[in-house]
């Protein structure tokens, strides 16, 4: 061996966030992702890579890395806040494993608002793949029972909104399996009795986790709940934090305010207004 008596250099693991952002006729997901990247740097101190369509030159330096990919359509979906059916380019998420530039990756939806350092706790876990299992509706203060199960057989749902994975066999099996489900979506729809034809990453992930875990249901979940703001609530932001206005079960107008809380803004229109006024 020539010249090498020193210790081999230990490879430093790279760590970062990956966001998929493909605009459609109603929503500027790239603007959302750029705003999210700022929040991520501020609260998590992590670099951000965006996966988007070819043609984006990244000139605004919003992202540390720009990865181009063809938009993969998951079909169309009705969004209550727009009161319109829009194209949904969500199907490329299953390629996160091959596209990520990092060894340890946090995949976030562009509409997931990072307002705390909470997600940095996932790195302390030894798990190779983690995601949220239970979504919690901030406006009702209840778990979203209707959305935490899916299909005719009431299968448990895991949410693809936030996923942490490390380059590993386990993570690769999960993403390969999600791809298999996506590529044979009609078959899995029939098998699980999913009524809506639109492909959803959450369903593909849940089916994949079921298969990879040997249908034991034992999956490392991110501790805590996926806090969510529903499209019918009005989300605003002021200097103290976020506010949501909503009608309670008796139809009375209520509001709550919160800060240092990460949440999934399911109503894109209100989030776009916050970003525009930023």
């Amino acid at each position: 061996m020539v010249g090498g008596m020193g210790k081999p250099k230990q490879k430093t693991l790279t760590r970062g966030v990956l966001i998929f952002a493909f605009n459609n006729e109603h929503t500027d997901y790239l603007a959302m992702a750029a705003w999210s990247a700022e929040n991520i740097r501020k609260h998590l101190g992590l670099p951000v890579a965006v996966v988007t369509e070819a043609g984006y030159n990244g000139g605004d330096r919003a992202f540390d890395r720009v990865i181009t990919a063809a938009p993969a359509s998951g079909g169309t979906r009705y969004f209550e806040d727009y009161q319109a059916t829009v194209s949904w380019h969500n199907a490329g998420r299953t390629d996160a494993y091959s596209l990520t530039p990092w060894d340890e990756t946090l995949v976030l939806d562009a509409d997931y608002v990072v307002d705390s350092d909470n997600l940095n706790r996932v790195w302390d876990s030894k798990a190779n793949f983690m995601c949220y299992k239970n979504a919690f509706d901030i406006s009702t203060g209840e778990f979203m029972h209707g959305l935490n199960r899916f299909g005719q057989y009431d299968m448990p749902m895991w949410w693809a909104t936030v996923m942490m994975f490390r380059k590993s066999n386990t993570a690769q099996y999960i993403f390969d399996c999600m791809n298999m489900v996506k590529n044979n979506w009609q078959h899995y729809r029939d098998l699980y009795g999913i009524s809506k034809s639109t492909y959803r990453n959450d369903f593909a992930l849940s089916i994949a986790l079921g298969i990879v875990s040997g249908h034991t249901g034992v999956v490392d979940e991110i501790p805590g709940t996926l806090l969510s703001v529903m499209p019918e609530t009005v989300l605003t932001k002021d200097e103290l934090g976020y506010n949501i206005n909503f009608a309670d079960s008796a139809g009375k107008q209520k509001y709550i305010s919160f800060s240092n809380v990460d949440f999934h803004a399911m109503g894109k229109r209100h989030l776009e207004a916050i970003i525009a006024s930023n």
Partner: protein
């Protein structure tokens, strides 16, 4: 937003019950910490288990993910207690501020 909506929103009252539940979710998530290769939730349940353990010899207990982890009970107890009280204090401050809202 039209004028009627603005008036309706301006009359909205703070929902204390819902805000309280959100606070619980927020602070429970902050009780998590890593120690000795395991993940733990700071709080009285973990601390009660640790008080049953030998203060001198290492003990093996299950972490949040049901993995057995060898720990020194007093060290884990001290860390859990510190995080628990730090977060409970922050929870109290925020809860008191919320109670003043109308």
């Amino acid at each position: 937003m039209d004028t009627d909506s603005i008036i309706a929103h301006s009359r909205a009252r703070f929902d204390h019950q819902t805000a309280r539940r959100l606070l619980k979710e927020k602070y429970e998530a902050r009780m998590l910490f890593a120690h000795a290769g395991g993940m733990w939730r700071a709080g009285p349940e973990l601390q009660a288990v640790l008080l049953q353990c030998s203060p001198t010899d290492p003990v093996v207990i299950l972490d949040l993910y049901d993995n057995p982890v060898k720990v020194t009970a007093p060290d884990l107890f001290a860390k859990s207690h510190s995080i628990w009280q730090e977060q409970m204090n922050a929870w109290l401050v925020e809860w008191e501020n919320q109670n003043k809202k109308r």
